[in-house]
C-alpha cells in the first residue's frame, strides 16, 4: 500500500473513460477496463459503476508527453502508464501513455491494455508496487496469457488488507489452506515436475521451487507463474527436448512453455489415448532416455510414446509388476539424476531408471534439506 494507506472510504466507486486510444476498437477498450475492474471487485466489497459525464472517482484517459500533471510520459517504451492513489481531484485517476501501442492481445508488438489497466487500477484503489515477481502489482510489464486471468495471491492479500470482505461475501476459493512447512513430516505433494533444470513441487495452490541457480527453496503459488491455470494439479511432467511441461487436472491437460500456455489447451485426456473410464491421472513422469512417458492411474500405469504421440500397446499394466516395491498408488513422480522418484503420501521411493528396481525409501521433503 502507499504510505498512510490511502483508501476509498466507500464501497460504490464510479469511473469514467474520458477518451480512447486509436490503437484499439472502443468496445475493446471498454471491455478491457471493465474486466480490469471485475478483477478487483471479485475479491473486495467494492462495486464499480461507469458514468459518462461529470466527475467520477476514477477518471481514465490516454495522453502523450506532458498531459497536465507532474509526470510527463516519455514516448514509446519506458513508462507505460501511471495512476494516483485514492483521494479527491486527481486521486484515483489512471493515465495511459498514448505513445505506446495498446492491444487486446497477448503479443510482443504491443502492451495488453487489460493487464496494464488492472495494474493501474490497483494503484487507483490504494495499492503500491509489489516486489513479488509475478504479482500484478510488480512494476515491470510482463506479457502473459489473459484468458481466465486470476488475481495472484499477493495482490489479493494486498487489496484485502485495505478492503476487508465480510465472511458472507468472501468467496470460498479465496481462502486457501495454509502452505505446509517445508519440513513438515506429513508433507505430501499433488504433482512434481522438472522445468528447465529446476524442480517444481505442487500442493494445492502452492509451489516449492528448487533451483540450481539459488540455494534456498523458493515459495510461490501456481497463479504467480500461470495466472489462468486453476490450482490443484493432479500430475505434471516435462519433455525437456521440446521445452514443454504438461499439467493435468481432472480430465483435462495443458501444455506450457515457460510462462506461456500453449494455444489450443486445455484438451481432454482422451486425446492422449485414455479410455473414457479414466477420469483423472494420479501422476506422470517422462523418461528422457526412452522418450516414453508413464501415466499412473490407480494401481496401473500406461506408457505413452512421445515420438509417435500415441499410447503403447499392451498397457495398462500393474505398477507392481514392473516397478519393484511399488505396491500402491503413485501421487506424484519425478525423474532426476538417473532415478525415478515415486511419491506416495509423505514417502518417496527411489528407483533405478534402467532396472526399475527400488534403491531406497525417503521422506517426500528430502529435497528441501530437512
Amino acid at each position: 500500500t502507499f504510505p498512510r494507506n490511502p483508501r476509498w472510504k466507500k464501497e460504490d466507486i464510479t469511473y469514467r473513460i474520458l477518451n480512447y486510444t486509436p490503437d484499439m476498437l472502443q468496445a475493446d477498450v471498454d471491455e478491457a477496463i471493465a474486466k480490469a475492474f471485475d478483477l478487483w471487485s471479485s475479491v473486495t466489497p467494492l462495486r464499480f459503476t461507469r458514468i459518462y459525464s461529470g466527475d467520477a472517482d476514477i477518471m481514465i484517459s490516454f495522453a502523450a508527453g506532458f498531459h497536465g500533471d507532474f509526470y510527463s510520459f516519455d514516448g514509446p517504451g519506458g513508462t507505460l502508464a501511471h495512476a494516483y492513489p485514492p483521494s479527491n481531484g486527481i486521486g484515483g485517476d489512471a493515465h495511459f501513455d498514448e505513445d505506446e501501442n495498446w492491444t487486446k492481445f497477448t503479443t510482443y508488438n504491443g502492451y495488453n491494455l487489460f493487464l496494464v489497466a488492472a495494474h493501474e487500477l490497483g494503484h487507483s484503489l490504494g495499492l503500491g508496487h509489489s516486489n513479488v515477481f509475478g504479482a500484478l502489482m510488480y512494476p515491470i510489464y510482463m506479457a502473459k496469457d489473459t484468458r481466465n486471468f486470476r488475481l495472484p495471491q499477493d495482490d489479493i492479500d494486498g487489496i484485502q488488507a485495505l478492503y476487508e470482505m465480510s465472511p458472507r461475501e468472501e468467496p470460498t476459493e479465496m481462502t486457501p489452506s495454509k502452505r505446509p512447512a517445508d519440513c513438515d513430516p506429513h508433507l505430501a505433494f499433488d504433482a512434481i515436475t522438472t522445468l528447465r533444470g529446476e524442480i517444481l513441487f505442487f500442493k494445492d495452490s502452492y509451489v516449492w521451487r528448487k533451483s540450481p541457480y539459488f540455494s534456498e527453496i523458493e515459495h510461490d503459488t501456481i497463479s504467480t507463474f500461470w495466472p489462468s491455470l486453476a490450482a490443484g494439479f493432479d500430475a505434471a511432467y516435462e519433455v525437456d527436448k521440446k521445452d514443454r511441461v504438461i499439467f493435468f487436472k481432472d480430465n483435462e491437460y495443458w501444455a506450457v512453455s515457460g510462462y506461456n500456455i500453449e494455444a489450443g489447451f486445455p484438451k481432454p485426456i482422451q486425446n492422449l489415448g485414455f479410455p473414457r473410464s479414466v477420469r483423472k491421472i494420479d501422476a506422470a513422469v517422462h523418461d528422457q532416455n526412452t522418450k516414453k512417458t508413464y501415466f499412473f492411474v490407480g494401481n496401473k500405469y500406461w506408457s505413452f510414446d512421445e515420438n509417435t504421440q500415441s499410447m503403447e500397446k499392451g498397457y495398462p499394466r500393474k505398477i507392481a509388476a514392473d516397478f519393484q516395491g511399488i505396491g500402491h498408488t503413485v501421487d506424484a513422480a519425478l525423474q532426476k539424476n538417473g532415478h525415478f522418484y515415486f511419491f506416495h503420501g509423505s514417502n518417496q521411493y527411489e528407483l533405478d531408471v534402467k532396472t526399475k528396481k527400488l534403491v531406497r525409501v525417503m521422506k517426500s521433503n528430502s529435497w528441501f534439506d530437512c
Partner: protein, 82 residues
C-alpha cells in the same frame, strides 16, 4: 570488453533519471564533493537492486541496466509521491 566511455556516460544519465523517477534520488547539485553524490547514487542502486531481487552491489552492472530499461509503471517503487 569494457564498456565504451560514451555508452557508460549515457547509462549513468539514464540510471540517474530512473532513480530520480522511481527511487526518490535527488542529485546533490551544490555538493562540493562528487564522491558524496556517487555514494548516494550507489545507495539508491542498492535499494533498487534489493527491490527487484538482483544481486545487491550498488554498481550499475548489466543486469541492473537491463531491469531499468524494462517497460514499467510510472509510479515510484518506494516512498511516496505527491
Amino acid at each position: 570488453f569494457p564498456v565504451a566511455p560514451e555508452k557508460e556516460k549515457e547509462d549513468m544519465q539514464f540510471a540517474q533519471k530512473y532513480l530520480e523517477n522511481f527511487y526518490d534520488f535527488k542529485e546533490e547539485k551544490h555538493s562540493l564533493f562528487k564522491s558524496k553524490n556517487l555514494d548516494h547514487m550507489a545507495d539508491k542502486i542498492r535499494e533498487m537492486q534489493s527491490f527487484f531481487g538482483l544481486e545487491v552491489t550498488g554498481e550499475l552492472n548489466r543486469k541492473t541496466m537491463d531491469m531499468m530499461k524494462q517497460p514499467r509503471c510510472g509510479i515510484p517503487d518506494v516512498h511516496s509521491y505527491s
